[in-house]
Symmetry: D3
Subunit: 61 residues, 6 copies
């Protein structure tokens, strides 16, 4: 606790995804004044066909 | 806001997924009396081995 | 299948939430060319303190 | 109802995933004293680069 | 890992929710052949106005 | 995009939750090299009866 779930468009390098996990975990732990050991992060990558704002898929935007 | 997340069995064409994003966004905006610009949709496709009702994976149903 | 999850700021009337469930279910069924009986919707209401874009909680925006 | 969503590291066999769906559905139905027909399970598999505790991606742990 | 998220209609006793967490965790650990220490469960309770199948809110069904 | 969802035990002050939204948004934007305007965060607070690791609800731990 807490559990952090991040949905993002696929295509980032493993290094960028590792950094995302590391930096978001650290930020959450600091904001909540808890140990980073308590934080879990999962990334859900979706293709640009599967994500859209205002009804427009990212693949077409 | 709102954020809409849809889990579905993989295998639909990009065109069908685009239409799903578009139509669900429009329906949500109209029901909530907000601009469609405020609506975000993400689709999570899972294989038929990963989804089941009544304890039976779709792949076996 | 599909399962639709909608996160929204709390405060809508039950009637508006019922309409959201009904209209989004119908739109998804039509877009996916399936029976509406197959669609499940869950609404997750969060307070304005718990939702933000660009780092700004809705409660302060 | 209920809807159960399980995030796990990718790599399990289909047989193990089928058993996970079956056994978790049965356990939930029994604990809630409902029919297993009412239970839906979805599995979200993520690569080891996309999951981490304490800020450390599983791929590096 | 794994992270299990269960959405259910509100109204169960704490004892029933505790049993749900306990039994589902045990079932998942056994199915995946891992220690139960690795399993996390979160329950999301929603009112009957906020959940529906076939477009019909549970509150009206 | 990205959409960040954080599940945590209820009980934090609004100020702490605002800081969590702000700091996690900033960390994600920096790690992904995108504008913070693109980041959305939602917090889902659950009671200690509804969250558990190793099969033990937090309320009993």
């Amino acid at each position: 606790m807490p559990t952090i779930q991040i949905t993002l468009i696929e295509g980032r390098t493993p290094e960028m995804r590792h950094r995302l996990i590391s930096d978001v975990s650290a930020a959450a732990a600091q904001a909540l004044e808890i140990s980073v050991e308590k934080v879990t992060v999962a990334l859900y990558e979706v293709p640009a066909d599967n994500y859209g704002t205002a009804g427009v898929p990212r693949a077409l935007a």
